[in-house]
Symmetry: C2
Subunit: 218 residues, 2 copies
DNA sequence: ACAAAAGTGTTCGATATACACCCATGT
DNA sequence: ACATGGGTGTATATCGAACACTTTTGT
């Protein structure tokens, strides 16, 4: 039996949630888009295999990565019996993908407008999306989609893009300020109209809250 | 690469949460307890393999079963590279296990007092327990641990056993009655002192609530 | 009659939601 | 000056937590 890892990699670009897909160059499903992945080596753990694939496809290493679910229906790969352990990853929009190697055929596509995908990858993406939406409401994964410094409006746009609904600006900000997990920086984002305060995520503070069982309410 | 499914099967006996474990009769880990499981056949889906193992070990078929997580560290099985897709199952206390075959060496052990287990099975049980506690708070999995007819006190005891804390009787009952997912039966449980009203879970009603996004608050 | 478990309401604090205007800057 | 996005407070409804006594039966 063969085992692969496949990774649903999300990012946000101009307020739209996107997935990284690669166009297949070999059968089966030549020409179709698929999520990046590959076979697990004999001497590597599942998580390591996922990290390796992620690095190979995107060139980035320190990103949010978690195991999603294992898909193992009999007919899911025409080549034979292959079960896949799916992962999902979040990377911030400011990180450029490596432009070399197979990445030539890698593209960010909006999750709302995906073409027909190879294998059972549409199902895997649906599952990842559901997990992401759930996690957004009680964890801080949302910050993983932003660069280290960000404005409150940018953060709110991440939530709105993923949850697909508008949030109230005042309520959003009040909740964040009560949680005290953001650290304002002595810097402002200029370029729009009025300059916006920049913040960074105060992870240490969040760990403490999580240990106390205090969750992230959105 | 070899793929197994292993199943953490929970039940509640006299107010204590227990896991089904089998004593290993063959190496590795002879004599140690392990959670039931086995190799996935070439022609069966993961879920089917889990159902088959569950049936083989317990003789029961229509139980709550969900995929938990896949464990694939390199050294987790001394025989070679084996990754396992772990499942967790809930069965109600009123169902007797089959007494035949390998079940001779199957035992229910309290989750709080487990001996040293085979493989990485202690880790798998920890993970299952965490999942069970979380799911209890926003789904109706709790009912799966009870027979079809049950009293409110019995239901509360299930919650208390799993969450390991006392719940307030009045608050517990009020929440349930607001949800309207229980149907009182024209029957009473006698044998204690004052007879207790019996209820059954009104699954249909619950499906509607879940579709509306109303969750189960404990 | 007494012991044991079943059943039942109210109060209070915390949290979520709805809602509108002024401010600082670029053009 | 005006257009654009940044920033701020209050009122109300809802939900969760704390808390004690009466009722019905078996012995």
């Amino acid at each position: 039996m063969q085992v692969t890892v496949d990774i649903v990699i999300f990012t946000i670009q101009s307020g739209v949630l996107k997935v990284l897909l690669v166009k297949r160059g070999a059968p089966p499903f030549v020409g179709r888009f698929a999520i990046p992945g590959g076979f697990v080596h004999e001497d590597e753990a599942l998580d390591q295999a996922a990290l390796r694939e992620l690095r190979e496809e995107t060139g980035v290493a320190d990103v949010y990565l978690e195991q999603l679910y294992s898909f193992g229906d009999v007919g899911r790969d025409p080549r034979g019996r292959v079960i896949t352990v799916a992962y999902f990853a979040l990377i911030s929009a400011d990180r450029p993908l490596r432009a070399d190697t197979d990445a030539a055929e890698a593209k960010w596509l909006a999750v709302g407008q995906l073409p027909t995908l190879a294998f059972d990858h549409a199902k895997i993406i649906d599952y990842a999306l559901e997990r992401l939406r759930n996690k957004l409401e009680y964890t801080t994964v949302g910050f993983q989609l932003l660069p280290e410094k960000f404005t409150l409006t940018e953060l709110q746009e991440v939530y709105e893009a993923i949850l697909e609904r508008k949030l109230d600006k005042r309520n959003f900000r009040r909740k964040l300020s009560l949680l005290r997990i953001l650290k304002p920086l002595p810097e402002y984002r200029r370029g729009g109209q009025r300059p916006a305060q920049l913040y960074r995520f105060a992870a240490a503070r969040f760990e403490k809250l999580r240990d106390k069982g205090i969750l992230f309410p959105f």
